[in-house]
Amino acid sequence: MIRVSIPSQLIAYTNGATRVEAEGATVGQALDDLDRRYPGLKFRVIDEQDRIRRHMRIFVGQDEARTTAAPVPSGGELLIFGALSGG
């Protein structure tokens, strides 16, 4: 099981939860599992070519994931952030 931190931009999908859980050995698998639990969430973060969207940032622990293939250790933490994009 992975612990996942949800940013404010996505809590509409998680019924307001900022901390949820998911399963998967990679960022992509974890997001697939999140999408099963919270339909629609993944496409707001990952585009149809499996690229992380321009203004989203994903970290595995302290390390930023650049692709959805980035591994996530069992018991690890996935942190999703909305990057700077105001105005």
């Binding site: 940013p7 931009q9 996505l10 339909p39 629609g40 496409f43 707001r44 973060v45 990952i46 585009d47 149809e48 070519q49 499996d50 690229r51 969207r53 203004h55 989203m56 909305g82 990057a83 994009s85 105001g86 105005g87």
Partner: protein, 373 residues
């Protein structure tokens, strides 16, 4: 006679609904809805009068379609928003949906979406799930029609889908880099329809394609009459003709015929309105001279008359985008503009006089006027 109207307003920061009384004098506001969402288009299905669709995204999140099937009381998100096929050879992903078009009256539940980067999508279930229209999106010339470097400051767009009310198989697209495209087989095949439309930003000023077609409208009482506000002027085409006529040549030279949108009359095929904007030098795209005005033709574009009563007479620097000028179908027609400065102005007498009915909204992207129902 007039009737109560709803204005569906999409802005860069959410959506609002304005509801009028039967005289269109008093307006009540509802909103914001989805505050912070970038709403490029907000439309109601004329076939059932209660399905509402919004093309939405945010600064962070990917694009989606928001849907209501009860007139806006409750909303849900499309379960499969427009998306290019995975493994698309051109690497495309939808940045945002720009235009939502209800399908033909004989095809309830069908919707069309134009997106950025330019692409066409179809829904057969009221906007819940969307499929790529491969006849366009995988057309052999798609990268010629929609080169990655083409497009507006917000990206290249397929900015409009138009369905012939007499024939569901006959459709037009307005695009920012291929001009007008036409299909007669509901999207399986396409061809450019741009003869005599100027393109003063390319080496060949009259190419087969490459034009920036800002807005195309069919005359409601004569769908063979097409009005076009192009990046390079105002045009009219009467089908089955193929050659557009630059009717904007009859505009006053100090005003010009540059703008984003054109609105045809609901009942008179010879009448239409444009909203000119400054196209000189660095393309300010504001009201020429700081004096906002609509211009109306009542003779098919042979002549134009200025309609500015009620607008600021100086220091009025309005910008009105593609989907932000519309009309209702009442008699007399109501006309509505939304500005990038967050103001809504209306005319209840077909442009003879104007008044402000809303201010202080975010940048307005779209306005749609529908009967209150």
């Amino acid at each position: 006679m007039t009737e109560a109207i709803q204005l569906l307003v999409g802005t860069r920061k959410g959506a609002w609904i304005y509801r009028s009384d039967a005289a269109r004098e008093a307006w009540q506001v509802e909103g914001p809805m989805f505050l912070g969402q970038i709403v490029n288009h907000f439309v109601r299905d004329p076939r059932d009068g209660r399905t509402l669709l919004m093309a939405a995204s945010t600064g962070h999140l990917g694009p989606t379609i928001l849907r209501s099937t009860d007139g806006g009381a409750t909303w849900s998100e499309a379960s499969r928003p427009p998306a290019f096929p995975k493994g698309d050879p051109h690497g495309r992903s939808v940045d945002h949906s720009f235009w939502l078009e209800p399908g033909h009256t004989e095809e309830p539940g069908v919707w069309w979406a134009g997106v950025s980067p330019p692409g066409l999508f179809r829904s057969a279930d009221g906007g819940d799930t969307w499929e790529s229209v491969e006849g366009l999106n995988s057309h052999p010339q798609v990268m010629d029609w929609f080169p990655p470097q083409g497009g507006t400051p917000d990206g290249a767009i397929l900015n409009q889908v138009i369905v012939d009310p007499r024939d569901a198989r006959h459709m037009y697209l307005a695009t920012c880099s291929a001009g007008v495209l036409e299909t007669t087989d509901q999207g399986a095949t396409w061809r450019p329809l741009n003869r005599n439309v100027r393109c003063d930003f390319l080496p060949d000023p009259y190419p087969e394609f490459g034009q920036d077609s800002h807005f195309v409208a069919l005359a409601p009482t004569d769908p063979d009459r097409l009005w076009q506000q192009n990046h390079c002027g105002v045009y009219r085409l009467d089908r089955p003709g193929e050659r557009w006529e630059r009717i904007g040549e009859a505009m006053p030279k100090e005003i010009g015929d540059i703008g984003f949108t054109i609105v045809p009359h609901a009942r008179d095929r010879d009448t239409a309105w444009i909203w000119p904007m400054d196209g000189t030098e660095v393309w300010p795209r504001t009201s020429p001279g700081g004096r906002p005005a609509a211009y109306r033709t009542r003779d098919g574009g042979a002549s134009w008359e200025r309609q500015d009563r009620g607008f600021p007479t100086e220091q009025g620097w309005f910008t009105v985008k593609r989907q932000a000028f519309c009309a209702d179908a009442a008699d007399p027609m109501g006309l509505y503009i939304g500005t990038t400065g967050g103001e809504i102005w209306m005319s209840g007498d077909e442009g003879e006089s104007w008044r402000q009915i809303a201010a202080h909204l975010p940048e307005i992207y779209s306005i749609s006027a529908v009967p209150a129902g």
